[in-house]
């Protein structure tokens, strides 16, 4: 992957497949340049045995093929920057995955186009789950949630091209002042 945001696009699929009703995406950049990306869902969760194995590229829930590279690739890029990946999960409750990146490291990926990523995520699952995004840095913070805009749309799909573009542009405007420094 060329951007941290692309890892988000990838691992959010795990939450969607886990049948989550709510997926909360959080990006926090601290004063030392450490970025924590977390994805919290209320999906089916994983057993402790599965959590123990889930970082392996040869572990996956799909049955068509025996490899699953989403988490291993995320780990590779987090660790390469000096960060790590934590996974907390409880069966029936949900999963939280947190990846930290040391953005000052020359080996750290850029954050990339987070607004397009979130718009793409919502477009891919317009009805369920509800997604929320929170971004924070010493420069400020922002919040966005599909639950906020759904009532305004009164049944018009979040996957409508005009709606997707509105989401992408409004997120772009809000994220730039907060995380613009690590985007490229």
């Amino acid at each position: 992957m060329k951007e941290i945001a692309l890892h988000l696009l990838d691992i959010v699929q795990n939450s969607v497949k886990a049948g989550a009703n709510h997926v909360d995406i959080d990006f926090e950049l601290d004063a030392d340049g450490v970025l924590a990306m977390s994805v919290k869902d209320d999906g089916c969760g994983m057993s402790p045995e599965f959590v123990a194995r889930v970082r392996s590229p040869f572990v996956t829930t799909r049955t068509t093929r025996k490899v699953g590279l989403g988490i291993p690739l995320l780990m590779q890029n987090a660790v390469q920057s000096g960060g790590k990946v934590d996974i907390e999960s409880e069966e029936g409750k949900g999963t939280t995955i947190t990846a930290t990146f040391h953005t000052a490291s020359i080996d750290c990926l850029p954050l990339g186009d987070l607004a397009s990523t979130v718009a793409t995520i919502i477009m891919g699952s317009p009805d369920r789950p509800e997604f929320s995004l929170h971004c924070a840095s010493p420069a400020g913070d922002m919040r966005f949630s599909t639950e906020e805009i759904r009532p305004v749309l009164e049944g018009v799909s979040l996957a409508e091209p005009d709606v997707v573009q509105w989401i992408q542009q409004s997120l772009q405007e809000e994220i730039e002042p907060i995380l613009g420094g690590i985007m490229r």
Partner: protein, 125 residues
């Protein structure tokens, strides 16, 4: 944040288009983009947004864009299937955002697949 009033206006405009769409439900063209780890790493996100952009620009009311997982041909990603109503599925491979306007104009609007971008052309090359 861009205003919710703007979103409200989008809703109204969309509703009037949707009414047209439900009348012609069987005429929907489907665009399906591979968005598993392999597709994303190969550049599926900008491809998907280019399709949305092009469909929005042309105000095409009868096209749906959706995402799918990995179909096992990761080396050909980003892959896009275009399914015109009543026609066979056409699979495009190694799709780049620059190729999208042509696929939309020639295939989705005018019904002629862009042969040189298809899986058949890639496999025979």
């Amino acid at each position: 944040m861009k205003s919710l009033a703007e979103l409200e206006a989008i809703r109204k405009a969309t509703l009037s288009r949707i009414n047209v769409r439900t009348d012609e439900k069987t005429d929907t063209t489907r665009v399906v983009i591979g968005m598993a780890t392999c597709g994303i790493a190969a550049g599926a996100r900008p491809v998907m947004l280019s399709f949305m952009d092009e469909i929005q620009k042309r105000q095409l009311a009868h096209v749906s864009v959706s995402q799918t997982g990995c179909v096992g041909m990761c080396r050909l990603e980003p892959m896009v299937d275009v399914i015109l109503p009543g026609k066979e599925k056409v699979t495009y491979v190694h799709v780049k955002p620059e190729m999208v306007p042509r696929i939309v104009a020639e295939h989705i609007v005018n019904g002629r697949p862009v042969e040189e971008y298809t899986i058949g052309a890639a496999e025979n090359a």
